[in-house]
Symmetry: C2
Subunit: 346 residues, 2 copies
């Protein structure tokens, strides 16, 4: 069950555990500073398929399979997977998971999908809806850029605020609480609100998403009565260089200094000096792969004890942008705790 701390903020009395995780990344991501954290770097952007969409579906399925293999589970043992991606009608998930024979809750949170997936899968596990649940997401440079911005061959100039959609995927397997073992617990949750401060530039997503991240992080800190220093890291999804400065400022204005512990996966993914990625990485797979490849292993090893993962999504569509709409953001947060112990039934 959950201990409800504030509106849409709760903690589990018997936290579900993350028992396995995996990530796969593309060639460019594998040439960046995070290269060593990926389980596999795929040199073929097509993943052996004919279309970019099939490539992304294949990547998502392979990532999930790898996470299953790591904990020696068969897909039939998963009660439900919470999954989504950036493509229209979430076809990365639909066609990726089609052969897997797993009950699926489709989710849409743009680049906040991984946190939303862990959140929803943890809720199912905490409720006792099954022994094992899962979450997976993905993004692919070539499916996202042509869908959201320009045809790939158009060669438009990218402004300094632009981010680079990562070709990457991350998957986690959760198990309902087992009092005997510790493990990484999903201990807390904050469901995001739609926040829109009027940014209209689809090449300036960090600025559009930062207010939503700040709203979610501050709501969680307030509800739990904690300070940023209580966490080894407060990880945002893909705000990039400009959005990261913004979110730290916005959180500071509400009385919390998170400069020392803030990390942004969009900033971490690429070396801006040599990789020409401007403001950083983006896409559902950006934070999904870095959380699964970097932060979860740190928690597993005990090198970190507790982190907040606040993934951020920009909820616009090209149609809405063409109609002059601004870009609403959303940020869902999960608290992840190493060597987790149940707090006892309330």
């Amino acid at each position: 069950m959950v201990r409800n701390l504030a509106r849409a903020v709760f903690q589990y009395t018997e936290p579900p555990r993350i028992i396995s995780y995996a990530c796969i990344a593309g060639k460019k991501e594998g040439e960046g500073p995070m290269a060593s954290c990926f389980d596999r770097i795929e040199p073929d952007a097509h993943f052996g398929q004919e279309t970019w969409e099939q490539a992304e579906s294949t990547m998502q399925r392979q990532t999930l399979q790898l996470a299953l293999d790591k904990c020696s589970l068969d897909s039939k043992e998963i009660s439900c997977i919470c999954a989504g991606d950036l493509m229209n009608q979430c076809i990365g998930t639909t066609y990726g998971l089609r052969p897997m024979d797993i009950p699926v809750l489709g989710i849409y949170g743009a680049c906040s999908t991984m946190a939303e997936g862990i959140l929803t899968a943890s809720l199912l596990a905490a409720c006792g809806a099954g022994e094992y649940t899962a979450a997976v997401t993905s993004s692919h440079f070539s499916t996202a850029e042509r869908q959201f911005r320009f045809p790939l061959s158009y060669g438009g100039t990218r402004p300094p605020t632009a981010q680079w959609t990562c070709t990457a995927s991350g998957a986690v397997i959760l198990q309902k609480s087992d009092k005997e073992k510790g493990g990484i617990g999903v201990t807390g949750v904050c469901i995001g609100k739609i926040v829109d401060l009027g940014v209209t530039d689809a090449s300036h997503m960090g600025a559009a998403m930062a207010p939503a991240a700040a709203d979610t992080i501050v709501r969680y800190l307030e509800a739990t009565g904690t300070k940023p220093s209580a966490y080894d890291a407060i990880v945002t999804g893909d705000l990039g260089i400009i959005g990261s400065e913004l979110v730290r400022d916005l959180v500071m204005k509400q009385g919390y200094d998170m400069n020392a512990v803030h990390r942004d996966c969009g900033v971490m993914m690429f070396d801006g000096e040599t990789q020409d990625t401007h403001a950083g990485g983006s896409g559902c797979g950006c934070s999904a792969s870095i959380v699964c490849g970097h932060f979860l292993p740190l928690l597993q090893r005990g090198a970190m004890k507790k982190i907040l993962y606040a993934a951020t999504g920009a909820l616009m569509s090209p149609t809405a942008s063409q109609q002059g709409e601004s870009i609403p953001g959303i940020s869902h947060l999960v608290e992840l705790t190493a060597d987790c112990q149940d707090s006892g039934i309330e």
Copy 2:
């Protein structure tokens, strides 16, 4: 908590209650046989807005507001809403709910969205993640037809198997179990699997979705050890005339005769003789509005005691179809019980 009956099939020991519901439909839907069940029939297809997308967002927001008004709740009292729609990046929900200041879990299940929303919102309520949760979805003829098929002004001939995307929306408000009062309980749940038997015709959606509906309904009947006669109605989403025959046949082949109790919202929505709607209605709003306008009131009055609502979604995208992909279906199911009593904590 939940009593887990089989993989992705569970029942609540303290079922959340549906305390309010509302539906709004368009002019054509208001000229059909279900006219009297809608809370409002909007004669202006633009809902006073400039674009079809803004029209759908407005309809979705107005429907939610109406459901809130009926139970005298303010939007700030809702802990979380589970919402989605058919438009790319679910912008009906994003822009529709933007001014409402409610934490949102975005979901994507195509036309199965209303059942997925009730399912997810009931899980949050059952877990104690808040006193009130909600679900809403919508579809609009003009946003869906041009996105999934042809430009509206193209005037393509519709084959006999085609369905008509409804302009309609439905919303429900849930409250966590209150032992003192009965009310309509969300008593059981079956999460859908992706099922694809190879249909490639986007004008033949009923055939693409029927196998998923049959899979979900049979899994629920098997897990609960019940027969179709245990329910006053087994309601499918929008299989239409052809898909309805198929689902009854598929369920029959697995040993269950549901002919006497099967109802399909796509069949119910229009008068095929006079409204030129071919195989029937479709869209997220089709079953959402008929469940909220017809079946929930029947349960409320005690005219029905227990129904299964298995909404059905076709998970294709135009891009996938153009690449030659077949159409995967999914169906999520909720069991709704009148004058619901808790079964006691396990």
